[in-house]
Symmetry: C2
């Protein structure tokens, strides 16, 4: 059986859980407490030298990490990965944009607010993420205003990757009230057959 | 013909130029000066709302951005993209690791040193990137110590993505003298048929 090293507080971990559920894979989850240094132990670093969850271990010992690489691997040859070559490239464009531009602002703000004391330094870190986080949401809003899903008007791993932290953006201090197209897109994702919520995946 | 919006100072732009050269595509390059705000003009934001280079425009007007998505698109169906499913996922793991963990430390340090005045604030930003940058290089060194290339012992877009800023890491203040396996890997990449150096791609 697959073993997923994960932390329930992580949206990146949720991406992995959701694609495994959607594609009907059995897996056992091993919860590691990021806040308690459990992803930085010698034992875990021997599995993933990058010391991050989600990390997936296959039955034969092969290891795969990076949430969006896990999404890609299990989506290949399913409807969550487009048949059209250019649409695949567009999915990848969104996945890289998520990790470089969206996650470091939206997800990190949520992490800081939920798990750090609001010192001056943390407040400064949150302030620095406000404008780029809003810009990321505005870009999504504009793109989704004329579309049902991010790519090719069908539900793909681009939607999973962006849903993971966008639907809890308010926990990071980003209100979605000014982003009606994002809200409708969230509702559409939650109606996808087999969908599981973050706490239930 | 393809149009590549690019800035010669960018390693991310170099990735796009190199894969286009390696796969024999004709393209015209349009140089935008990042430092001069040329990626933030209304004209360019109409092409790529994320305001970043490299951005590729196809003859029919379709647009693709994110350097690693461009690598993926042109590598599909070539030897730079593995046939084996798990090896493909490993390539993706390295591409996401590059954008999240390597580039923000190694590439950003190079940018700050080359294009910003060394104020206290910039020095602080450089200091903050020192330990995670060295950790990224150490992870690569350890991985490459027993391998010829990053994935499946063949030259893939994972090598292109990591080569782009690793081979100029010293310009960001990261000496490669303590990383002999990385140095050998750089030499191997520069011997790949069709390889073009950063200033020549």
């Amino acid at each position: 059986m697959l073993t997923l090293y994960d932390d329930p507080i992580s949206g990146n971990g949720y991406k992995a859980r959701l694609i495994l559920r959607l594609t009907g894979r059995d897996f056992q989850a091993v919860a590691l407490d990021i806040l308690n240094g459990e992803t930085r132990t010698p034992e875990f670093l021997a599995i993933n030298p990058n010391g991050k969850i989600p990390t997936l271990v296959f039955e034969d010992g092969r290891v795969l990490s990076e949430s969006n690489a896990i999404l890609f691997h299990f989506a290949e040859a399913t409807s969550y990965w487009p048949v059209d070559s250019f649409a695949r490239a567009q999915v990848m464009q969104w996945l890289f944009w998520e990790q470089y531009t969206h996650e470091p602002n939206i997800a990190t703000s949520r992490f800081l607010r939920q798990h750090r004391e609001l010192t001056d330094e943390v407040t400064q870190q949150l302030d620095a993420r406000k404008a780029p986080g809003e810009a990321a949401l505005a870009l999504m809003e504009n793109h989704l205003s004329a579309r049902t899903f991010l790519v090719a008007d069908s539900f793909t791993i681009a939607d999973i990757a962006l849903y993971a932290y966008t639907h809890v953006a308010e926990e990071g201090g980003f209100s979605l009230s000014g982003y009606p197209s994002i809200q409708k897109w969230i509702t559409r994702i939650e109606a996808v057959p087999g969908f599981r919520a973050m706490g239930d995946a």
